[in-house]
Symmetry: C2
Subunit: 424 residues, 2 copies
């Protein structure tokens, strides 16, 4: 009674989180077949409702243009038949993934005869705070549903009409399944207050996952009292050691910078051993220049390539997500590792070397979610790791670190079977 | 430079956390042998300095008496030769446990040839905020050191002299080892401000683990922006089903309540199926009464045992940690599970039944860290589970759930070895 009363007089956020919380226990008991069948029903519904979703999306785009939204953001928001088909296909791919719920993580029998099992269970209710792209709405809903978690989505206002229509369509689809449709909630309130409220919703939300830019994530990390899985920020380095092969080093460094500069696993700073730099820095700089990358060098780098702009102190701590690269020449592996320790964000770090001892020391010493030897940092990704899904890349050390797939959206519980054991 | 400057002008908390942060990387690389040898050196030092530790403890006890501290609290603070020997023995037992650091959690090769390993690594710097008992100081230091984590301890002011002397002794011992002594820090400032400061120390502390009573834990959970592992609060239920054997049910329920009422895994509410209650509730009530337990009953329970006091609404949500027990008679397993869903704290819950189907449904449905069939909830404990250690019992769903042993004090990282792979 009291909960219902609260729900009808409370804010939208509390109302919807309460509905999600009540839907979480029955969803947690859903079978894999029920969940997969719901995912296919959701995909079917998105395809069937393509026209109405595109119409809602057009309203977002119209308002965005009126408000002077950048064309790159509008492009990320824009939906068309092909993109919606891709999103629906994503739902079917999640249905194909193994269901982690119920997996047995440990089993043992104690000397007193207690039989103890540790099994995977859903987390409960997951809050996701994200920015513009409406595909995140479907993606997050699918990954949470597959792992038996209720979800409260709070997307960016720039895609509000699209998100509303998408969630209506998904709700309609869920109502024809055996799963509780209330397990999927979208917060409509576009104000900052609705985010602030979610951050403090202990007891209703079990975890918050922010997805978006630095300021969104930092707002959540700094202000949430609900447990947070921090994702995203990446000041990633590639260190080219003395013995690196030039072609390999060039390819890896270029790939890490220019293959997709806007993402968190791209490189922001290139560290080059002085012996390698003397031989190759000019060539490297030329190759980056030809790819449209602005270079900012340390004093040591500019001795070799004076045409480089000088890097300012704050550049070493900046996530450009753009065609800009810092270059520093170092005199040793230790100097490179110290630089990474001081300026890295513990996301993805790479050494290119033919010296196996140096490679081993780098892998062991560097404190990051993903540490590479002779491969591009761009591989830090749930799909590239073979997880078949990704809810984000955790840059914190608790619960999950690195690309998060379905198992990272689960918790566990101990099941203990006895025959009357009591503690002495 | 700037960090050192900060450290010398900053508060005690920031200074010590900074020292711990700088000590964390070398500690993370320490070998198992180095860590075990340090644990033995710490144990030896505690034994050797028994007299000076007892003298410092006497000062805490003297001040406690002056301040009117309760005798039960003074007893928890008090150290003598035997208790110190026990604490030192605890260090040697931690040395005997397997070292989880470096354990390989996964290994796979991708179609593109990337070889990916997931290995256990330390978390970094752990902050522990706790109350009176000085044994926690040594215990937490040992578990953190064994897992390669630096630690910032902030114990209760009632044991401040004891804790200071203990940490001095441990520091002296560490200085003769190959480990960085700065990895162990004790915050001396007894003010609330030092706790408040720790709660917001993102960037210096990787995780906070509060250990203590409800208000200490809630203060940390509600106000910390550093990730928290919530421990402790336990409103645990035992449900006696229709088909339970009387003797087994009585033994399990009595054990769950009276074997040690002050701890979080003891029972606060007994739920009894009406058919069982009609046959046995009077006997049960008598047995609890004989053990000095005050009973507070639902209306349905008081129909059968009118001598019981009536339970108030808030009693069902109260963690007594005392010789008080709520009793409610229910008409079905579902009613029992609904009660647990509404009033439990997701710690430890038990069903006593001979009906295997009901047992399976209870184990599957109840959302708690530990769910028991025919055994006392008092077994929720790292030592009883065979972990050989316990830093606390997590009642949250992220990172760790239930008793936390050494692996729960670790994180992981991915190590990726390639031969020049780049992303297409």
């Amino acid at each position: 009674m009291s909960t219902q009363h609260t729900a009808t007089t409370a804010s939208e956020v509390v109302q919807k989180a309460t509905l999600a919380k009540h839907a979480a226990p029955p969803l947690a008991l859903a079978t894999t077949e029920q969940k997969n069948s719901a995912l296919h029903a959701m995909a079917d519904a998105l395809i069937k409702e393509t026209a109405s979703i595109i119409a809602a999306n057009a309203e977002d785009l119209r308002q965005g243009k009126e408000n002077g939204t950048s064309s790159s953001l509008l492009d990320r928001i824009a939906l068309n038949e092909q993109r919606i088909a891709g999103i629906a296909q994503g739902l079917r791919e999640v249905a194909l993934l193994p269901d982690p719920i119920g997996d047995q993580l440990a089993e043992f029998t104690r000397p007193n005869g207690l039989h103890i099992r540790k099994v995977r269970v859903p987390i409960g209710v997951i809050g996701i705070i994200y920015e513009a792209r409406p595909n995140v709405t479907v993606d997050a809903a699918a990954l949470c549903l597959k792992t038996g978690n209720a979800v409260v989505l709070r997307g960016g206002s720039a895609a509000l009409h699209s998100n509303k229509r998408i969630v209506e369509v998904l709700h309609e689809a869920l109502r024809d399944t055996e799963l509780p449709a209330d397990a999927l909630q979208l917060v409509i309130d576009p104000s900052r207050a609705s985010v602030d409220e979610m951050l403090k919703l202990n007891g209703l939300l079990d975890v918050l996952i922010p997805r978006g830019g630095h300021s969104l994530i930092q707002n959540v990390v700094r202000n949430a009292t609900v447990p947070v899985i921090e994702t995203g920020a990446g000041i990633c380095h590639t260190y080219i050691d003395e013995t690196a092969q030039y072609e390999m080093a060039l390819n890896i460094a270029l790939n890490a910078k220019v293959q997709r500069p806007s993402v968190c696993n791209s490189m922001e700073t290139l560290l080059v051993h002085e012996a390698f730099a003397e031989r190759h820095l000019a060539q490297l700089a030329e190759a980056f220049g030809a790819s449209g990358v602005e270079l900012r060098g340390s004093a040591s780098a500019r001795l070799l390539v004076p045409s480089m702009k000088e890097a300012a102190d704050e550049d070493w701590d900046t996530e450009y997500n753009d065609y800009i690269l810092n270059i520093r020449v170092v005199s040793s592996l230790d100097e490179a590792m110290a630089h990474i320790g001081a300026h890295g964000t513990k996301h993805s770090e790479c050494i290119v070397t033919e010296n196996q001892e140096n490679a081993a020391r780098f892998l062991e010493t560097i404190d990051a979610a993903a540490v590479y030897h002779n491969a591009s940092t761009r591989f830090t990704d749930g799909f590239e790791f073979g997880f078949g899904a990704e809810i984000g890349i955790s840059t914190q050390k608790l619960h999950a670190r690195g690309p998060m797939g379905l198992p990272e959206l689960t918790s566990s519980k101990y099941l203990i079977s006895g025959s009357g054991q009591i503690r002495g």
